[in-house]
């Protein structure tokens, strides 16, 4: 029974990671790249208006980083809850 609870905890922790990372995912693409793009465009990043940069490059690069972070977190979590693969 205790083990079942542990596995449930593992799953809840996974859901927490997903929720946090997907809210960043939503923010950089939908909020920065679409909804508030015009407001952000007033700020400059080198030659880019900031909103335009998020829509064209920033969101895509951050997506990559989000997956990297998720993979690392999950590899650690797999070990902690003893569900890792050999």
């Amino acid at each position: 029974m205790a083990r079942e609870q542990e596995l449930q905890e593992y799953w809840n922790q996974n859901l927490k990671y997903i929720a946090i990372l997907l809210s960043i995912w939503f923010t950089v693409s939908y909020l920065f790249g679409i909804v508030f793009v015009d407001q952000l465009d007033n700020i400059r990043l080198f030659g880019f208006p900031l909103g335009y940069w998020f829509a064209n490059q920033g969101a895509e690069v951050i997506f990559c980083l989000l997956i990297v972070i998720y993979v690392r977190l999950m590899n650690k979590l797999d070990r902690k809850y003893n569900v890792f693969e050999d």
Partner: protein
């Protein structure tokens, strides 16, 4: 050597590589044919997924599309990358743990229903055929533009190649050829992009280059000394304004529509079966997660360069064409006139090319075979009254890039080989989905469950062979609706597969009634909306008539929401799924249970646990 010789040489070499790889990676079991024996390294799988994902459209058309759409074009960049985050976190690891061959198989088992499996397999086949038709056409078009071969011959050559490695090699052969194809296409895309970036801004990284200032050499190429030292995007915004366009870095499409299209593209990506099955080929759960990251990395390499190419090409095009006498037009313009991708109609008879908003002619240019008084090729199209004198096909922004950058002939040939690699790799991935849906889901799963593995493998090969032939026929006789139905592929994937898979994993209590109601409602709603606006009443396809301003391209998002809601509500009021299904869902949620002696997940596709 001439461009044609170089092109034949490079295309020949790359094709030879694909064939050798395919022979070495022959599939001799269903496990190898469907999932490459689940032995693919996550980095290689990432490359293969990149090639699988980036189609002829990504390679040839996307930068051009962006260069005409300005900031609105970013919806494709975000939409076609964001789905990988969803794949990594919400789908790939759990489906890999489940450990079977196809997406319809998972849906059929999870919802303990043959009908659910049949609906899914029909969807999978429909989505894949929609997509593959454009790829085979793309192969023909590349052949005709670079090698002056009739389009149909090009399609047949492409069919033979794909036939060879998809039918013989199955997933194993396709995976390794896709790795080779990724290498070809990324090199072919980046070399011209890097050169143009150096030429205009002196920055060797295109993604940074288009946020840099224009160099002295760049200003000379643009024939405007005043642009030196100014940010490229500022210059581009300025010329856009002067010509009467809206600013390049501003958007004109309503935000609600952009929002819904991006959701549909992202969720659609995550629901496309040919993308999902790539994650069945890695050995471990952690590899499935990592592999999604690698795939996105390899895709983003090209996708961050695309908007740069778009901005460079746009600036260069306007500066070197607008208000320039035709005699002084750059050489590439005259070269590409012959292909029908660019045309100049001297409306005011002054011998100077004028470019601006609006269309110059109706439809695609039809050359009359005569030349005008300035040596330009004349067209027989109806000429519009607007001031714009230039017809420009968006594909030229990538295809003519090497010539614009004055690169040697072998680079031009490389772009041809890259375009072919992009089209062939995507076609092969899609053909595998069709073949597996027929042999594994339809024949083995529904019609002839007692079939031996040998028999199934034969069906898989026949399915792939049949699919190649049908795809080729689509390429030779393109149905007029192909361009319209690409929205269909994404919309359907978003409204059907994505919600049922997600709920199947994240909610134990979702049952067959919910899933069937949700799927059927999602599919019916989405196809109804698209069919109405694209086929039944195309005249009404305007923002004013759309529901809440959502175009048919973005309607898959609404279909998805309907699917989710119905699935949840119907599952609440109908009997729970059987206990063994709920236990199965719990098992999907962790990699292995070490306390009961499990050390790794099975790589044998026939026994899931």
């Amino acid at each position: 050597m001439s461009i044609t010789t170089w092109t034949w040489l490079l295309v020949g070499i790359t094709f030879l590589i694909y064939i050798i790889v395919a022979i070495r990676a022959r599939a001799v079991s269903t496990g190898a044919f469907y999932t490459a024996e689940r032995t693919i390294h996550p980095v290689l799988n990432g490359m293969a997924t990149g090639a699988d994902w980036m189609s002829a459209a990504s390679f040839i058309s996307m930068a051009g599309l962006i260069s005409f759409m300005g900031r609105d074009g970013s919806m494709y960049l975000m939409g076609w990358t964001g789905g990988y985050v969803l794949l990594a976190m919400l789908l790939a690891p759990y489906l890999r743990k489940y450990g079977k061959f196809t997406v319809p198989e998972f849906i059929g088992d999870r919802y303990y229903s043959q009908s659910a499996r049949i609906i899914s397999l029909v969807c999978a086949i429909f989505i894949s055929f929609t997509y593959v038709a454009g790829q085979m056409r793309g192969v023909g078009v590349v052949f005709s533009r670079f090698l002056n071969v009739p389009i149909n011959t090009g399609v047949v050559i492409g069919m033979c190649i794909v036939f060879f490695y998809a039918v013989l090699g199955g997933m194993k052969g396709v995976t390794y050829t896709q790795v080779a194809q990724y290498c070809v296409l990324i090199v072919a895309y980046m070399i011209p992009a890097i050169y143009i970036s150096i030429m205009l801004t002196n920055n060797p990284i295109p993604a940074f280059g288009f946020g840099s200032t224009i160099s002295a050499d760049g200003a000379e190429i643009l024939q405007d000394a005043s642009t030196q030292g100014r940010y490229l995007l500022d210059v581009l915004d300025g010329i856009h304004k002067d010509l009467g366009f809206s600013e390049y870095t501003s958007g004109v499409r309503p935000k609600i529509d952009v929002f819904f299209i991006v959701v549909a593209l992202m969720v659609g990506t995550a629901g496309l079966p040919h993308v999902i099955i790539r994650f069945f080929t890695v050995p471990k759960i952690k590899d499935a997660r990592a592999s999604a990251g690698w795939a996105l990395f390899f895709i983003v390499l090209l996708y961050t360069a695309a908007p740069a190419v778009a901005a460079f090409a746009r600036t260069n095009f306007i500066k070197t064409v607008h208000n320039v006498r035709y005699e002084n037009a750059p050489q590439w313009l005259k070269n590409w006139e012959e292909t029908g991708l660019i045309a100049w109609i001297d409306k005011n008879g002054d011998g100077v090319m004028q470019y601006g908003p609006g269309k110059a002619i109706t439809g695609k240019p039809k050359y009359s075979g005569q030349t005008g008084s300035f040596g330009q090729a004349l067209v027989s199209n109806i000429v519009t009254t607007g001031p714009n004198e230039m017809y420009v096909d968006r594909d030229i922004m990538v295809l003519a890039n090497p010539e614009i950058a004055r690169l040697p002939n072998w680079v031009i040939a490389l772009v041809a080989a890259g375009g072919l690699a992009a089209a062939l790799s995507t076609a092969a991935g899609l053909l595998l989905v069709i073949s597996a849906s027929i042999s594994h889901d339809l024949m083995k799963g529904v019609l002839m469950p007692s079939m031996s593995e040998k028999g199934e493998l034969l069906w898989a090969r026949c399915g792939a062979a049949g699919a190649v032939v049908i795809a080729g026929l689509f390429g030779i006789f393109p149905p007029g609706f192909v361009a319209q139905v690409v929205a269909f592929a994404f919309g359907l994937a978003a409204a059907s597969f994505f919600p049922v898979i997600i709920m199947g994993i994240f909610n134990k209590k979702t049952n067959v009634y919910g899933a069937m109601t949700g799927m059927i409602a999602g599919i019916t709603f989405t196809s109804g909306y698209i069919v109405y606006f694209k086929f039944l009443n195309p005249g009404a396809n305007k923002p004013a008539n759309w529901w809440f301003g959502i175009s048919p391209e973005g309607i898959g998002t609404v279909g998805m929401i309907i699917n989710f809601l119905l699935m949840y509500i119907v599952s609440k009021v109908t009997p729970e799924p059987p206990q063994e299904i709920q236990d199965l869902v719990v098992q999907l949620r962790y990699p292995v249970e070490r306390t009961s002696g499990e050390r790794k997940i099975s790589t044998d596709a026939r026994r899931p646990y």
